[in-house]
Symmetry: C2
Subunit: 245 residues, 2 copies
């Protein structure tokens, strides 16, 4: 163990976040199905910014006050009444979202993002931007917390598998003395030569969303490196991180 290396930890649920010290750390918010996948898609396709908000009211209000904005959010697999679009990454093509501000309300991911205190940076991660996030963390040289959004505080497979993919790539460059990180890495290793979606098809969230006919969405969310950008929080907005700034 090299004492000079920064620390990397994994938090498996927002209900455990208080156990981790995020002061000065690079924190990755992970909500694979589907908030952080949609954020990566929208920014990659040139959205001006994504504003994550917790409530539907706030989403409508911000949508009304921001020019050229799009309000979006789902509850139970359907677009919320009063909002314009859903939470599917494939909706946010370049033709549609370029130059616009996406005001997005989600439950698990947004709540977690707002819970993190004192971080040096807050970015969002998903399979769609796996390598970009790993490169960002390697370059940041900060302690890292990979924070899984989970589902109503319950551990979930898709966020943990993504955390495991990051741990697996970064383990030589960080001091990892965190059992959650070890278990996430084991989950990733156990996947072997299978694609992420093959593992995730037997997960609680997949079953829940498949009941709404969202299988294609989840296949999209499980695609590695389709949208190589790093969404980073600046004030209340997520924008693309520019490496040389």
């Amino acid at each position: 163990m090299n004492k000079q290396m920064p620390r990397l930890e994994v938090c498996l649920s927002p209900a455990l976040l208080h156990l981790y010290d995020t002061e000065g750390a690079a924190v990755v918010i992970i909500d694979v199905f589907r908030a952080t996948s949609t954020i990566a898609a929208a920014l990659y396709n040139n959205a001006r910014a994504v504003i994550p908000v917790a409530s539907i009211e706030e989403c409508i209000e911000l949508g009304n006050s921001i020019e050229n904005s799009v309000t979006a959010g789902e509850r139970n697999g359907h677009i919320v009444e009063g909002l314009q679009y859903g939470n599917s990454p494939s909706e946010y093509t370049r033709d549609f979202i370029s130059g616009r501000t996406l005001v997005l309300t989600t439950t698990n991911g947004t709540r977690l993002l707002h819970m993190v205190k004192g971080a040096d940076s807050i970015v969002t991660g998903s399979f769609l931007n796996l390598s970009a996030v790993c490169d960002f963390l390697l370059n940041s040289n900060k302690n890292v917390l990979l924070a899984c959004a989970a589902w109503k505080d319950r551990f979930n497979l898709e966020d943990t598998l993504f955390a495991g993919a990051v741990v697996n790539r970064l383990k030589g460059s960080f001091d990892i003395n965190c059992d959650s990180a070890r278990a996430a890495n084991a989950l990733f290793e156990n996947m072997g030569s299978r694609r992420p979606i093959e593992l995730l098809q037997d997960s609680s969230h997949y079953r829940r969303l498949a009941a709404y006919g969202l299988e294609k969405d989840m296949e999209y969310c499980a695609t590695i490196d389709l949208h190589p950008v790093v969404p980073i929080l600046q004030g209340q907005e997520l924008i693309i991180h520019q490496p040389n700034q």
Copy 2:
């Protein structure tokens, strides 16, 4: 998925226990390093009962009021002042503990045990009694919650690996729609042909206890089926479950 099968879930930390319904369930308390291993050892070696208590004061008080009792507990790897013995399963040989009542204070495991509400039964599990616990759960035909004691609410590898071993054996007989159970099983599967101790040597708790010279204790705790008994809570006491009663 057979709707007739009872449900099996895994809770990875006491901080997540409120998310699970334990009403009428068989709950397995898991604190591999070392409370539930010591409990299995003491009862297998014919202790009359084990009384798990949260505080040192309560331990001393009960020890004074119960005839032929032994008080035990450690904090930071040392026997607590005022108590007689430690938290090492190898201390509780038949010669020593037979017929006596062990009053044991531990932090993580005891606290979790007292948090469980409305269960049909509360038993304790460890590698030392893996098969006995699995047989008990198969015979009980109740919903099952495998509850990991963790370490100060932090996810830990040893309790989750044990939960994974149980899931792996029972998955054909229970309805498992719980991502924690899936991940625990993947952790167990990823162990492959290695012995549990080989995996656990790279865990936070192993490192912590090894710093106190407790490597042999942990090797003991990782031995499968050395003490095939099922400790079950009756009132405030853990005693051996008798299958045909």
